[in-house]
């Protein structure tokens, strides 16, 4: 049976524990930590989820077993220092002046040298110059000189091991082991419900005296807060702060290319005890420390910006109506006897996208956008992202609205062409004309008049078929037309007919705009060089309604941005210790690697002209032999001869 002291002192056990920590750490990097528990259940299934949870794999680095191993390693390393330090000190002090000539001669670097004097005065002087410490001993039959340098190498061991202890202790001071202990004792527990702050039980609150924590605060502009949220496993704790913190302003600065350059918050801190108030500016890489708590800029999001919207119906000739909403607010919407909710999730004043223009890709700020979900009565939702300003694509401007059925999908875009006034108005006028019975009748009549077709000898029949094309197009778009053609037309004529139909639809649109331009010749909307392109794009947009998932298009007419800034607040009393330990570590490694410990002895038997000089080191590098020879030269010995030359 191994005693505990033996286990503690066993290097092999310590190394295996260290390897275990390494493997656990790797698991921690592969298995994404601190995700919501639902996503783990989806990934692993209930069975494995439970087993992994028992092992605390979702929060490896704060698992009890992980911390226990670290504690063991600290104990083991301390024990190692305790055991070995006296020996090291003895070694550093000891010169071993009683060594025998025979043992010198058996050393790897041992030479026969001619000595000039009867004492070691000259050697002592020269060795001291070379950085050696020297002791001499006179015996009845011989003189012994013992010298050494680089004995601080031994301090390397001491410092590196001490460093590991100091760093680990510092780290443990900042880990929330106190909370874990209190949790085990049943005093505290994690809150996993979504409760307002006032209803959170005392057992999930941590008071100001809590020595170490890492918690978050999210403030909207103008908001004030005096607690922070400490997320843990599948829940959270509430940390009391010694001050109140208010967000005055949050600012994002941008590069000329549109990418964000800095995130800055202006905050006001009010000390709870003294009532003292102070204003600060903090940003990424420039944290603020108050009362031992350091506040970092860590996050930002929308804080409930107000949005002024125009609601357009893409499937009728109705004009828009206005709606005002806020991010995180839900609006109700009735459409053709159906009830929908509009859930506004985000607003961004800046959007940097990679756009291609004339074959060159570049990043551009395309202006504000907002994200909302449109949910029907049965709970199904489609997500939209609409941009306020038109974007230039292949030389022309479009209002982009992305839609997707789930967050995993990519957005599919509805591209509404901008009119010659760079607004969405022109398209909406076009749409209204297209759905207006009178206008479309006039347009169709024009087509019938100008195209005395051979195919349709009967004018009424021609008109009817135009009406049918129109009806199919407004209900199902181009895909509806394609369906009819594939069903009714022989295969060899399909392409020709399709081209004719597309041309007819185009003419309907073109006539509508001509009619409008005749009525309002000075309108700003339809003054294009390339009118055909606009008409085609506008018809495409009407047709694309079929995939868009809704007949409603929301235009952002105005907004007032309100931002929220996220802070991380940390109290880490262990930090100075970790830094101190780091300094020890660097010193220790330097000592261990770059200080060469070397000892040398010279023995001269009484009444002999020859003596023995021997070198010993615990790091026998490739250059060591050269070093020994140089030292002998430095001592002024002229001829030397190596013992044991076979050995080397």
């Amino acid at each position: 049976m191994m005693t505990f002291a033996q286990l503690l002192g066993s290097m092999r056990f310590a190394i295996s524990m260290l390897a275990f920590v390494g493997i656990a750490s790797i698991i921690g990097t592969i298995l994404k930590q601190n995700e919501p528990y639902e996503s783990y259940i989806i990934k692993f299934g209930q069975f494995w989820f439970n087993h992994f949870e028992i092992l605390n794999l979702y929060n490896v680095y704060q698992a009890i077993w992980f911390i226990a191993i670290l504690l063991f390693l600290i104990a083991s390393t301390s024990y190692c220092i305790y055991q070995n330090t006296p020996g090291f000190i003895r070694d550093i002090k000891d010169f071993n002046v009683t060594i025998q000539e025979k043992s010198l001669q058996s050393m790897k670097y041992s030479y026969h040298v001619q000595l000039s004097q009867d004492n070691f005065n000259l050697e002592e002087q020269r060795l001291k110059k070379l950085g050696f410490k020297v002791r001499c001993n006179k015996k009845t039959d011989a003189m012994i000189l013992s010298a050494k340098k680089g004995h601080f190498q031994k301090l390397g061991y001491f410092f590196t091991h001490l460093a590991i202890i100091v760093i680990s202790v510092g780290g443990l001071m900042d880990a929330n082991i106190w909370f874990i202990a209190q949790e085990r004792l049943g005093i505290k527990n994690i809150e996993s419900r979504d409760l307002p702050l006032s209803q959170i039980p005392q057992s999930s609150k941590l008071d100001e005296k809590n020595a170490a924590f890492r918690a978050n605060v999210l403030l909207t502009e103008g908001e004030i807060q005096d607690v922070a949220i400490l997320p843990l496993r599948d829940g959270y704790l509430v940390q009391d702060l010694p001050f109140r913190i208010a967000l005055k302003d949050f600012n994002i600065k941008h590069y000329s290319t549109g990418q964000p350059k800095s995130f800055e918050s202006d905050v006001i801190i009010v000390d709870k005890k003294t009532g003292q108030q102070s204003e600060h500016n903090l940003s990424v890489n420039k944290p603020l420390t108050v009362n031992g708590i350091t506040i970092y800029q860590s996050d930002f999001q929308d804080g409930g910006s107000t949005l002024d919207l125009k609601v357009w119906d893409l499937a009728s000739q109705d004009n828009f109506y206005s709606m005002r909403s806020e991010v995180f607010k839900v609006n109700e919407l009735a459409y053709q006897d159906q009830k929908f909710t509009l859930e506004f999730d985000d607003f961004r004043a800046f959007n940097v996208l990679e756009l291609e223009d004339k074959g060159k890709k570049s990043n551009k700020n395309v202006g504000p956008s907002f994200v909302y979900k449109m949910r029907n009565a049965s709970g199904q939702a489609v997500e939209y992202q609409n941009y306020q300003l038109p974007m230039k694509i292949d030389g022309y401007y479009y209002f982009m609205s992305g839609m997707r059925d789930s967050q995993q999908d990519e957005y599919k875009y509805l591209k509404i062409p901008a009119d010659s006034d760079q607004s969405v108005e022109g398209f909406m006028i076009f749409k209204n004309l297209f759905y207006s019975k009178d206008e479309i009748k006039q347009s169709i009549n024009t087509i019938v008049k100008t195209n005395q077709s051979d195919v349709f000898s009967d004018q009424a029949l021609f008109k009817k078929s135009l009406d049918d094309i129109y009806k199919t197009f407004i209900s199902k778009g181009y895909s509806g037309i394609a369906e009819i053609i594939t069903q009714n037309i022989p295969e060899d004529q399909q392409t020709a007919v399709a081209n004719t139909y597309i041309k007819i639809i185009f003419l309907m649109g073109a006539n509508l705009i001509n009619q409008y331009n005749l009525k309002f010749p000075d309108n700003p909307y339809f003054q294009f060089d390339n009118m055909n392109r606009f008409i085609q794009d506008a018809l495409n947009s009407l047709s694309d309604r079929s995939f868009y998932g809704a007949n409603i298009y929301l235009e952002l007419s105005d907004f007032q941005q309100i931002q929220a800034s996220g802070f991380q607040l940390t109290k880490a009393p262990g930090k100075p210790w970790v830094y101190l330990g780091s300094i020890f570590l660097v010193i220790g490694i330097f000592c261990m690697i770059y200080i060469q410990e070397t000892r040398l002895w010279i023995i001269k038997k009484t009444n002999q002209r020859y003596g023995t000089i021997a070198f010993a080191t615990n790091r026998d590098h490739i250059d060591y032999e050269t070093f020994t020879k140089n030292t002998i030269k430095g001592l002024g010995y002229k001829t030397y001869e190596k013992f044991n030359s076979k050995k080397s």
Binding site: I26, T29, S256, P260, N285, A572, V578, I622
Partner: protein, 370 residues
């Protein structure tokens, strides 16, 4: 004058560095914070020190200085000139300079192997020269890129060690410099054939990254990277990575000799063993310092000196790996093929930390993403 330089090369070199440093300080102190002034002074001292025991480094430094100065002179403060000026377009704009590096390293590798098989001194010297020129072109390329980033816009300018493209160039350069130092010191040019393999792997990646992903475009820094810490954390880390990579390649040579291959063509096993050790020691010290600096920076930017972010965790694993390696060698006196194999495996772990984490794991270090 010539006499003066020959007698006191170190003093002259240090003086040159001091003049350069002062020039930078007086002209650009408005753009520097106190820490950056510290880094500038530290660089002057550091490069003087490097030059004092490594004569070729002095020549190298002056060469990149001239290349960079010529490029800045030709640019005349406008990026557009790069398209029109012959020298900028084909030699010393940062892009072309890096391309020269990418062309010369493969060439040097081939000639190193000719040297190994032919044992001809001429080929060894040629390969070595080519490696020096490749390194100089690459280093000048980075410095010119630094200047170019300011030409785009003064508020965009940054030291080019911020994304995967830039650090891959840095990796090639630092690995090459560490190798070239030991090549000179150990007086053998045979190992270039091994160390340059890993450099050329990096070059291949760089070229793919450049042409397939358009990675060479200069993009402004995200706020998290705007810190003087980047100027020391990243280079220190890459001295670590470079040294570990070189150690692994020399271990490959060791294992070949150990198995009776190329015995007559390659240096002695003891030399290879010792060089592996030296390389790992240098790497270990710098990797330790870099990780500590990273922790201090993390404390400033992310709010905690240690967040168990995948990159941090893998850095710890790399550190533990080489700590164990050194422990076994220094304390237990282990030598030979076990350590050589270990150092090769170490490169796999290091590579995962360097690039695998960016590819497969997500975390706070996400600016290095592919």
């Amino acid at each position: 004058m010539r006499n003066l330089i020959q007698k006191n090369p170190n003093i002259i070199f240090s003086l040159l560095l001091i003049i350069l440093g002062s020039y930078a300080l007086f002209n650009f102190h408005n753009h520097m914070d106190i820490y950056e002034v510290g880094i500038l002074c530290g660089s002057v001292i550091g490069f003087s020190w490097l030059g004092s025991f490594w004569p070729t480094f002095k020549k190298f430094f002056i060469a990149i200085l001239l290349l960079t100065a010529a490029s800045i002179f030709l640019y005349q403060g406008s990026l557009q000139i790069a398209e029109q000026n012959f020298f900028l377009k084909y030699f010393i704009s940062s892009q072309s300079s890096v391309m020269w590096m990418s062309a010369l390293f493969p060439l040097a590798l081939i000639i190193y192997w000719i040297h190994i098989f032919s044992q001809g001194v001429f080929y060894g010297q040629l390969a070595s020269r080519l490696s020096w020129i490749a390194t100089a072109m690459g280093m000048a390329g980075l410095l010119i890129r630094w200047y170019e980033s300011y030409l785009i816009s003064p508020d965009i300018g940054y030291i080019p060690v911020s994304n995967l493209y830039e650090v891959f160039i840095l990796f090639c350069l630092i690995t090459a410099l560490i190798y070239l130092y030991y090549e000179e010191k150990m007086n053998t040019k045979k190992l270039g054939g091994f160390v340059l393999i890993i450099i050329n792997v990096a070059v291949a990646f760089l070229l793919w990254y450049h042409f397939a992903k358009d990675a060479s475009e200069i993009k402004p820094l995200v706020p998290a990277l705007q810190s003087y810490w980047m100027k020391i954390h990243v280079p220190a880390n890459f001295i670590g990575y470079g040294a570990f990579a070189m150690a692994a390649m020399i271990s490959v040579a060791y294992l070949l000799v150990d198995n009776g291959k190329f015995v007559k063509l390659l240096p002695d096993k003891t030399l290879l063993d010792d060089l592996t050790y030296k390389s790992i020691s240098v790497g270990f010290i710098f990797f330790t310092i870099a990780t500590i600096l990273g922790a201090v920076w993390a404390a400033e930017a992310w709010g905690g000196y240690w967040s168990w972010d995948p990159k941090e965790t893998w850095a710890l694993i790399v550190w533990l790996n080489y700590a164990a390696w050194l422990h076994l060698r220094l304390i237990k006196g282990l030598r030979g093929s076990v350590l050589a194999w270990w150092s090769v495996v170490g490169l796999i772990i290091t590579t995962f930390c360097f690039i695998g984490v960016n590819l497969f794991l997500s975390g706070l270090h996400s600016y290095g993403e592919l």
